[in-house]
Every structure is written in C-alpha cells, then in structure tokens.
C-alpha cells in the first residue's frame, strides 16, 4: 500500500520537475536572453565568434538536440552567464543561498512555535477575546501586502525609534572587526527581517492549528477520555494536540510557495543580500539568465520539499491513501 503510494508520488514529482524544465526551456527561448544576444550586443563581434558560441550552446542544431544539450548543461550546473555580474549564474546564486536560508529558517521556527501555541490557546478558549483576537490577527496579516509591513517596520524601528540598523546584513567595515562583534552585528541586522517574515506566517499557522484542534476535540475518543475522568488540560496535551499536529506538517509544506514570495518582498525592502533580493535585482536589470536560474532553483526546491513532505507524512500517518 505504502509502496504504491511512494511510487505514485515519485512519479508525480518527476513529472512536475519535467514540466518545470520544459516550461523553463520554452521561456528561455522566448526571452531575449539566449546566449547569442549577449555576443550580438558587442559591435566588434565577428561572424566567427557568433558561430563559435552557436556551436557551444548548440544553437545551430535542431530543437530536440538543443533541449538535450540544455538538460545536460543544467545537470553540470551550467545555467549560463549573468548579464550584470558577468560571471556564471551558478556561482552568483551560490553566494546568496546562506543568508536566505538563515532568515527563512529562523522565521519558520519562530512562526511554528508561536503559531501552534496561539492556535492551541484559541481553540481551548473558543469564542473568548483571545480566540477572536487570534482570528482577527490572522485575517489582518493575511490581507497585508508583505512588503508594506516591511516598509512600516523599517520606518518605525529603523528610522523612527532607531533601534535597528537600516538595510543589509552587515554594517560597513564590520568585516575588519573581531568574529564575535561581526556575528553580533549580523544578528542585529537579522532581527527585523526575521520578525516581519514570522508575523506573515504566524496567522496562517495559528488558524490551521485552531481549526484542526477544534475538529479533533469533537472526535469520539476525546469524549471517551472525558468520560474516563481525565482533566481538560491532560486531554488537550496528551490526546488532542498530538493528533492536531499532523496537518500542520502539510500546511508548512504548502506554505513554502508563500514563504518564498514573502522572502522576495522582505529581502527587497530590507536589502537583505539573499536569493530574494537577487531575484528582484535580476528582474529590474532584466538579467534573464540569472532570473531563469533562480526560477529553476526555487521551483525545483519547492517541488522536492513537497515531495519529501508527502513521503514523510505517509510514514507518520499510515492512514494516507491519496
């Protein structure tokens, strides 16, 4: 049963990745960003140069050979040259991964802990001010453009109150300070982007936790536990919450797309040197190869993350069928 499930999910993931690749390839052809266009910009480009580059990227070959070559290049990590950075797209992207992972990872951890806690409190006190407040909070944060929240945060905490530094990940010259001071400086810069990102996520997690917990609390086994005379608190902690945690795993995976959208906006507002602001830069400068590379990396990571979640979930909850 599970084997069949895993095979099916693996097939689907492979198909989705394949659609991503084809989609990306077609975009790459429509865009004015094929490798030749960069050479063509150079007024001193000779026909021989054009021919060499054509042969290098297989532009003189039929489309199916080109697709295979594109695929091979990608497997070798060759995503072309960035127009702006004048170096390989893979290399440019690699330097920006860590700041994004740090920012998103911390924000996710905070949001999951606070969100689950808020959800439990709201579900346990249904209809009270805490419950209504949690609902209101998640509705308002859902309705808010992420970047706008970022602008307000910058304006209040960096410009108005001057508690946190404006923009970037490091103050100028800090690379010459000691390691401890440097780390502290990075932490200081990280606080606002991380908090903004987690505010965006807390509402959604709290709402999901609240609703699942309410469903679970209506199950027969909760009634049985009540009949046995267990206290409310004990039932909540030992019977209800563990069962309500399962859907949280799915919602965190489904939310990955939202998280990436948020990262692009927040990194742009805070000039955080990660993948998100790189994507914004490549868009503003119409640096198509870089944009394509980032798009490919982001989409494939999300597809893989969702796939891994499905598989993990099938081990945690043996009931899953579809």
């Amino acid at each position: 049963m599970r084997r069949k499930f895993i095979i099916k999910k693996t097939m689907y993931a492979i198909i989705t990745v394949f659609i991503v690749l084809i989609f990306n390839y077609i975009l790459f052809r429509i865009l004015p960003g094929d490798p030749l266009s960069m050479i063509m910009r150079n007024p001193r480009a000779t026909p021989e140069m054009v021919d060499t580059v054509s042969a290098l990227y297989g532009l003189d070959k039929p489309w199916y050979t080109q697709f295979i070559m594109y695929f091979q290049n990608m497997l070798h990590g060759d995503l072309g040259m960035s127009f702006v950075y004048k170096s390989s797209v893979t290399g440019v992207i690699a330097t920006k991964i860590l700041p994004t992972l740090w920012m998103l990872g911390m924000a996710e951890i905070i949001a999951i802990i606070v969100g689950i806690f808020l959800g439990i409190v709201a579900a346990a006190n249904r209809g009270t001010k805490i419950d209504v407040g949690t609902l209101g909070f998640s509705l308002v944060t859902y309705s808010m453009p992420t970047f706008w929240l970022g602008i307000i945060m910058v304006s209040v905490f960096c410009v108005g109150l001057r508690i946190f530094p404006v923009g970037g990940m490091q103050s100028p010259g800090m690379s010459f300070a000691g390691e401890g001071a440097q780390l502290l400086d990075i932490l200081h810069h990280s606080v606002l982007p991380i908090i903004t990102m987690s505010i965006l996520l807390i509402g959604e997690y709290a709402l999901t936790m609240r609703n699942t917990l309410m469903d679970v609390l209506e199950e027969d086994y909760i009634l049985t536990a009540k009949a046995k005379g267990f206290s409310r608190k004990y039932i909540l902690r030992k019977h209800a919450v563990p069962n309500a945690m399962l859907p949280m795993i799915t919602i965190i995976a489904i939310n990955l797309g939202l998280v990436i959208g948020g990262a692009i906006q927040i990194e742009t507002v805070f000039s955080w040197p990660g993948l998100g602001s790189l994507m914004y830069e490549s868009l503003s400068a119409r640096d198509y190869p870089l944009l394509q590379g980032l798009f490919l990396l982001i989409t494939i990571s999300v597809v893989l993350a969702n796939y891994l979640t499905d598989i993990t979930y099938s081990y945690i909850d043996p009931r899953v069928k579809d």
Binding site: Y12, I15, T16, I19, V20, F23, L27, I30, L31, L139, V140, Y142, S143, M144, P145, T146, F147, W148, I151, I152, V154, S155, C158, V159, G160, V166, N211, M214, L256, G257, L258, I260, G261, I264, Q265, T268, V269, M279, Y280, L283, S284, R286, Y288, L291, Q292, L294, F295, I298, T299, V302, V303, N306
Partner: protein, 292 residues
C-alpha cells in the same frame, strides 16, 4: 418548466441575500467593498486634482494640510486624488483577473472530473504544477517576458491562480456526475457539452462563487506585489504602483507616512472585506462550519 426553474433560482438568490444580510461578517465585508467599488466608479469623475500633472517644486512631499488632505507625493501630486484613481485600476485588475482564473479553473475542473481517465490525469498533473510552483516567482518571470501593461498583469494573475479552483470543482463534479439525474439525461441522449453546461455547472456554481471571493482577494494582493516590484503599468497607477514610487523615493527613511500608509491601508481594507465575505459565504453554504 422554465418558470418553475426561474422561480426556484430567484428564491435561492433571495434566501442567500437574506443570510448575507443577517450575517454580520458578510455584511461588514459587503459594505466596505461596496464603498470602494463606488469610489472606483464615480471617484475619478469628481476629484479636483489631475493625478498625472506634476506639482510645483514647493508642493513636493507635503504633509497633510488644508489644500491636500492627505498630503502630496515626491512629484507634488495629491495623494488622495491618486488613491481614488488607483482604486479603479486596482479593482479592475482584481475583478478581471479573478474572472479569467475562475473561467480556467471551472473549465479544467469540470472537464477533468467529467471525462476522467487520461484527460483527468493530464489536467491534474498540470494543476499540480500550478499548485506547487511558488506563485510570485512564476508571475515575476511571466510579467517580465510579457512587459508592463495592465492587460498583461491581468493575464498573468489569471493564468497562475486557477489551480485551487480546478481541484475543488473537479471533486464536486465527480460527486455530481454519479447522481441519478445525470444518468437519466445520458439515457435521454444528451451530449457531453449539454450535461456539463446544463447539469453539472449549476450544481458546482455555489462552490465556485465562494471560491471566487477568495481568489479576488489574492488577485488584488498579487497585483499590489507585482506593481511594487516594478512590473506594474506606469501610465495607470494602481495602489501597488503608488507603493512602488513611495519605496523608490525613500518615503520610509523620510518618514513620509502619509505617502506609504494610505495605499496599503486601502489594499488591506479591500482584501479584508473579500476575506470576510469568503469566510461568511463558506459559513452560509457549508453548514458544517456553522458552529465555528
């Protein structure tokens, strides 16, 4: 036959209207949204300032005052006037994108559920692709290729946001398909198109309707974000475009709160009213949620 059908439909709509009226959440959402729709339709006809004319240098970035109630932007333009003309652009994009999205979602959902087999498989893999792909990067790439005009923005949002609807509609179609009246029409010799448009569509419609409201909320947010990232139409400034200019001109560091707060507040109010309506419609049409 037809008059009975119309009477039933009329009664259903009336019933729905009265439940909206008695549901506080739905009522608040409807009133706020109606306010913005009226402003979007009639507002630009009565505002005294031209939104595209740049002001004099001394008008630049003025705080709210007697002449400019909400102050001016970095080009000396009146913020309130921009806000009112932005309402039209933002809502227009939101509504049209939602229409496209619902159209595609319904078509794919019904075909997938009705035909089943290979067609279902292919359409659902495509749906999976659009469900799992992070929406913002996809929209950014598409908008970057197509260029910046409001029609392209509408198209991009519409074409990327239908997957959820398709899933919901497919599930509902699968259950409607099994009902007896569909079997009867088949035995009477109805074609696929007739069954899908006359029998299945009316039965999945309530679901589509509740979904539409939430898609509209997402569409307005998407438009705001895309415009903020510089993919909006510079000749027709939406609220997102205003926020783009505010950010680019450094309104946050200049503490020009009157510049970057109002467009965002408008977006929040409109999206919030859509969300409230969606929440309430779910409650009205889905009795299971009633006790929440």
């Amino acid at each position: 036959m037809n008059s009975i059908k119309h009477e039933m439909r009329r009664r259903k709509i009336k019933e729905f209207g009265s439940s909206v009226y008695h549901n506080k959440t739905a009522l608040v959402g409807t009133i706020v949204l109606s306010f913005f729709v009226i402003v979007a339709i009639f507002g630009p006809m009565i505002i005294p300032f031209s939104t595209l004319d740049f002001g004099n240098p001394e008008d630049m970035l003025q705080a709210p005052n007697g002449e400019h109630w909400l102050g001016t932007d970095d080009m000396g333009r009146d913020i309130l006037a921009n806000l009112i003309s932005g309402a039209r652009v933002s809502l227009l994009i939101g509504f049209l994108a939602t229409l496209i999205s619902m159209g595609i979602g319904t078509l794919i959902g019904i075909s997938s559920g009705y035909f089943g087999k290979a067609i279902d498989n292919i359409l659902m893999r495509l749906t999976d692709f659009f469900l799992v792909i992070p929406w913002l990067p996809l929209m950014m790439v598409l908008a970057a290729i197509l260029g910046t005009s409001i029609w392209n923005i509408i198209f991009v949002i519409g074409i990327t946001s239908w997957a959820g609807t398709a899933r919901v509609v497919r599930a509902q179609t699968l259950s409607v398909k099994e009902r007896q009246f569909v079997e009867r029409t088949v035995s009477l010799g109805s074609g696929s198109f007739h069954i899908m448009s006359k029998h299945i569509l009316p039965n999945v419609f309530p679901l589509i309707f509740a979904n539409t409201v939430l898609i509209a909320a997402a569409a307005i947010l998407s438009e705001t974000t895309l415009s903020f990232l510089g993919l909006g139409d510079p000749t027709r400034a939406s609220w997102g475009m205003m926020l783009h200019y505010a950010f680019e001109s450094g309104a946050a560091s200049a503490n020009a709160y009157w510049y970057y707060l109002p467009p965002g507040i408008c977006v929040v109010l409109v999206v919030l009213s859509f969300a409230l309506m969606g929440y309430a419609f779910d409650e009205i049409m889905n009795p299971k949620f009633k006790e929440r």
